[in-house]
């Protein structure tokens, strides 16, 4: 059968049994009760679908921001680096607007009832925002700092629907798990950043990166299996990224900065051919 029917007509025609007792049943308390359930379930499914859609937009825009940020590292210390960072900041502001829409949908709801609908987008946002933070500050953005920027004033939204009282601001809270999963993905971006910085003859960045990645790796080891199942899955990819960066640092140390670039490329491709499973087509 179809997964979802919009109209009642095809459904009715398909079911002779319904026609048989339609006259008697339509007035029955059972059918009346199920009409209420129908409405309740449809409302819930609709909200879920809307959240999935917003989450997808958040994912796409976050990925684009990450691509943009890689341009900063690729050209190294070029004069327009600050321009690119500003542009990324603007993009992330747009993403935050979308997250504001998620918060709007979740107003008065149990966040965890719809968590599956929007968790991919939020993880991607964490990845993007923590990547920008690393490029600017060479450190790990905290969960608190991320959440502090996800506070939305209720005034601009919602005026169309109902007269809003100037109540408490709408907030969105990234869960510790989503934060962790986003940070795990960040390590993949840092590994790519390491490759391109080596390509640019930037010797310092790889060493900084390997130190930072080691700290994150240690952090994940500390968490171990306390976290959700997905975290332990990502730990494997994290180890691979770390290994590549450590090998690069090793090569730089041994051979010095005169190492031919094609040999560095070998360092990175020797383990696995740069798997990039998360990054779909944008």
């Amino acid at each position: 059968m179809n997964r979802r029917e919009g109209e009642a007509c095809p459904r009715r025609n398909a079911d002779a049994a319904l026609d048989r007792d339609a006259g008697a049943a339509s007035s029955s308390p059972v059918v009346a009760a199920f009409k209420v359930f129908q409405q309740e379930l449809d409302t819930k499914h609709d909200k879920h679908e809307r959240l999935v859609k917003i989450s997808r937009d958040v994912t796409i825009e976050s990925k684009r921001t990450i691509f943009l940020l890689h341009r900063v590292t690729r050209v190294g210390s070029v004069p327009n680096a600050e321009d690119i960072l500003k542009e990324a900041e603007v993009k992330l502001d747009a993403v935050r607007q979308k997250i504001g829409q998620i918060a709007e949908e979740l107003r008065g709801e149990d966040l965890f009832q719809f968590h599956r609908a929007f968790t991919p987008g939020i993880q991607e946002y964490v990845e993007a925002v923590s990547f920008l933070h690393y490029i600017r500050h060479r450190g790990l953005i905290s969960l608190e700092e991320i959440n502090a920027r996800l506070v939305f004033s209720t005034a601009e939204k919602g005026t169309a629907e109902e007269p809003q009282t100037a109540g408490p601001a709408l907030t969105f809270q990234v869960t510790p798990s989503d934060y962790l999963l986003g940070v795990a993905d960040l390590t993949g971006e840092l590994m790519r950043m390491c490759i391109s910085s080596v390509g640019n003859g930037d010797i310092d960045t790889p060493f900084q990166l390997s130190q930072f990645l080691r700290q994150i790796h240690d952090g994940f080891s500390y968490i171990g299996n306390t976290g959700p199942y997905e975290v332990s899955k990502k730990l494997h990819t994290l180890r691979q990224s770390l290994g590549k960066v450590e090998d690069a640092c090793y090569a730089l140390r041994v051979r010095g900065s005169e190492i031919p670039k094609h040999m560095l490329a070998d360092v990175f491709s020797s383990r696995t051919a740069l798997p990039d499973p998360e990054e779909g087509v944008v």
Partner: protein
């Protein structure tokens, strides 16, 4: 001001293990709930026995007594986590709550031969109907419980014939058909509830076969009063 990587991870670790502690507490209460549900099921299962048909009212009364324990245990479960995080831990009690909804629905069906409303199930379990008011009965869990009852009723239809009660299958058949029309109104997604609903047609079919067997032998009309059961069954078997 900024947190170091180590500090950040130790903060996250702290919140994750706090989460695990809550889950552990919930699991303990859910185990006692499962025990209580099994006891109620055992009491109600006896209605399938030939002798059990006369004892339906007393079995229901016994089951209702046992629901007192359930209410206490659900009351305890509520205290184990913040109420606004119901769906965060939902999976832990989802299964047992569906079983309990089934048992409540079954008791009410045996007593009154009607479909229990969600409000009544919530009342029997001592919980809320609406999420905003506290620990509640999710509509999908209620519906899942009703579907479990449907397959129990198809069994009851078969066993009531064996016990010589020929009118019950007809009443069950009407009831299940009504339920079926109710479920047809729902636009179910490809989820566990949908899968369970897909089983309803087999229950409907089974009950229709029982009704068919009874009607071609004229048993449905006679209502089991002066029927020679042995003679009837000698034919087809």
């Amino acid at each position: 001001a900024a947190m170091s990587v180590t500090e950040m991870f130790s903060y996250i670790q702290g919140s994750l293990s706090a989460d695990q502690d809550v889950r552990e507490e919930i699991r303990k209460v859910v185990q006692t709930l499962e025990q209580a549900a099994r006891e109620i099921l055992t009491v109600l299962q006896s209605v399938h026995q030939p002798s059990g048909f006369k004892e339906i009212p007393s079995k229901c009364a016994k089951a209702r007594e046992l629901f007192c324990t359930v209410r206490t245990q659900l009351g305890e479960l509520k205290t184990k986590f913040p109420v606004e995080q119901y769906y965060r831990f939902h999976e832990h009690w989802r299964f047992v709550l569906q079983r309990l909804a089934f048992l409540a629905a079954f008791v009410v069906y045996l007593e009154t031969e009607t479909l229990v409303v969600r409000e009544e199930v919530a009342k029997i379990l001592g919980i809320q109907v609406v999420r905003e008011k506290g620990f509640h009965l999710d509509v999908e869990d209620y519906l899942a419980g009703v579907l479990i009852m449907a397959s129990e009723l198809s069994r009851l239809a078969v066993n009531s014939v064996t016990a010589g009660d020929y009118t019950r299958p007809l009443r069950i058949s009407n009831f299940i058909n009504e339920l079926d029309s109710g479920f047809r109104l729902l636009n179910l997604k490809n989820d566990p509830l949908r899968k369970r609903y897909d089983g309803l047609k087999y229950d409907v079919k089974k009950i229709e076969e029982v009704v068919y067997d009874l009607s071609i032998r004229g048993l449905a009309k006679d209502a089991g009063d002066n029927v020679n059961v042995g003679g009837v069954w000698a034919g087809p078997e």
